[in-house]
């Protein structure tokens, strides 16, 4: 019975994934090197890399287009902060409403239609309305993202709480846990793996949505950079903006994936 819990050190990034990424860059380099496509349609990797390094922390070039002096980084910071703020708000709201709907039939009858309708709203089509309501401020993009994120988190939280074995709730109550502890120690902890799954899905979709909603009108942001550079036919900078945003999205996913795995390390791994 002398078992010790040994947590196997896991690489945060799959080596196969890195090989795949290198293969993609090699293909890209090959295609641009041998001029299968024009320089405009497919700028070479070296050129894009140079565009990133030259414009990353500060860029008078981007400042010319009213995109601030902070370069790509400044615009990334704007985009990231919108995504993070919207996700944080959505987690609190989505989990609270999802749990409530799983527990209180009456609330579910009331909330489900609203949430499901919100989930089916063609967000891209309705986006202009957010511009009308909130103007070109940050709030327009954040509100749009919350509409998207909260639906996903709500559904995952609701399903997780509904699926939780009621024995755990009964056990907590007989051990002396009050309603607050039942929510925090039983529902929240037990539902976390599924809620985390929902958060990751919401986050993955949020990047593109944020960039898109910036196109409709935002003071800055990676979406705005892409728009301005596309209008200038500067495909090197368009690629630079897309690549840095993609890198940020991947880094976020790896980081929160790792954090979530650690927090829910109690979960049963497949075992025969």
């Amino acid at each position: 019975m002398a078992r010790t819990s040994l947590s196997v050190a896991r690489l945060p990034v799959d080596p196969l994934g890195i090989i795949g990424l290198l293969a993609l860059v090699a293909l890209w380099w090959g295609l641009s090197q041998f001029h299968f496509l024009s320089r405009l349609a497919l700028p070479p990797p070296a050129g894009v890399a140079a565009a990133i390094t030259q414009n990353f922390f500060s860029s008078s070039y981007l400042a010319n287009y009213h995109l601030g002096y902070g370069g790509l980084a400044g615009n990334l910071a704007y985009t990231i902060s919108n995504v993070v703020v919207a996700l944080a708000v959505s987690c609190v709201v989505g989990v609270a409403l999802g749990f409530a709907s799983a527990r209180v039939e009456l609330f579910r009858a009331f909330a489900d239609p609203i949430m499901l309708t919100a989930g089916t709203i063609p967000i891209l089509v309705t986006a202009p309305f957010f511009l009308i309501w909130f103007g070109t401020s940050r709030s327009a993009q954040i509100a749009l993202l919350i509409l998207f994120d909260v639906t996903i988190v709500y559904l995952f939280a609701q399903r997780a709480a509904a699926n939780l074995d009621p024995t755990y709730v009964a056990a907590g109550r007989t051990l002396g846990a009050g309603p607050m502890r039942i929510v925090s120690d039983v529902y929240l902890k037990g539902a976390l793996p599924e809620v985390f799954g929902g958060i990751r899905i919401a986050l993955a979709g949020a990047w593109g949505l944020e960039a898109f909603s910036e196109l409709l009108g935002a003071p800055k942001g990676v979406g705005r950079v892409i728009q301005a550079m596309a209008a200038e036919m500067d495909s090197q900078m368009v690629f630079a903006a897309i690549m840095t945003l993609a890198a940020v999205a991947v880094a976020f996913d790896v980081a929160i994936g790792g954090a979530f795995d650690f927090i829910t390390r109690w979960r049963r791994r497949a075992r025969l």
Partner: protein
């Protein structure tokens, strides 16, 4: 001291079809302080329902349940419950599970860990206090569940077929462990089982339920720690025969004319 009294307790459920089921019907029962009562009966006769009523997890449709004369209102750590299914929280380490009840009651951390550690050692799990439940076997999880309720020092201990899913040897080991803990702490016990041998080994008194009602209630006066020999005494065999016939297993009993 903890005398449990049930007076005319009844519980109704509405089935999905709409039919009303009387899971527990007019049960009156007094369980004396420190008594070890086994509740036995065929599957579906209302044992789990009755136990959950005493635990306070569901309010009774009819009648009153009281402990030492005070009517119960909801669950309480004074009435510990060991569930039939696994109830150990998978998201807490073993030691945190065992000390959880104390945490709920505001016992300071070093104190509650010390108490939990002592109970874990007593159930033979001193070396897995930092393990996650998924790393433990079914028998070990039951030991954790037993340590968890005892750490709360309940005055009433309710157990719902706690060892039904375990292998033969593990089950017999846990019987002895439970008896040791009971002799030390002397809670009043209501132990649900469908296993006649288990009831004969453990009980001061065996209550038989059928279709929601109490149909028999017999004192078992065999000396304690019962052994293979004492359970073969004529007195024990007579009890066992009656119990088997209550469970509809009369064909296993030679003398079919003996009164129930």
């Amino acid at each position: 001291m903890a005398e449990v009294e049930l007076r005319n307790v009844g519980q109704f459920f509405r089935r999905s079809g709409g039919a009303l089921v009387e899971a527990v019907a007019d049960v009156s029962l007094v369980i004396r302080s420190h008594e070890f009562v086994c509740l036995i009966g065929p599957s579906g006769c209302g044992k789990t329902t009755l136990l959950q009523l005493v635990a306070g997890l569901t309010p009774a449709s009819q009648g009153q349940i009281s402990v030492d004369g005070a009517a119960i209102a909801g669950p309480s750590p004074e009435r510990g419950l060991v569930f039939q299914r696994d109830s150990v929280f998978p998201w807490m380490r073993t030691i945190d599970n065992v000390s959880y009840g104390l945490k709920c009651r505001g016992v300071e951390k070093t104190k509650r860990i010390e108490i939990a550690r002592q109970y874990l050692r007593q159930v033979g799990l001193g070396d897995v206090e930092r393990s996650w439940p998924r790393e433990l076997s079914g028998g070990m999880l039951k030991r954790v569940a037993v340590a968890t309720v005892f750490a709360n020092s309940p005055r009433v201990l309710l157990m719902d077929e706690p060892f039904a899913a375990l292998d033969y040897v593990t089950k017999l080991q846990l019987h002895q462990l439970l008896l040791t803990l009971w002799e030390q702490h002397r809670p009043t016990v209501l132990f649900v089982t469908h296993d006649v041998d288990e009831a004969m080994l453990l009980a001061d008194r065996i209550v038989v339920m059928k279709e929601g009602r109490v149909v028999d209630d017999r004192k078992i006066t065999l000396a304690r720690r019962r052994t293979v020999e004492s359970l073969a005494l004529p007195e024990a065999v007579a009890h066992k025969e009656v119990l088997l016939r209550h469970l509809g297993l009369g064909e296993l009993v030679q003398d079919r004319t003996a009164p129930l």
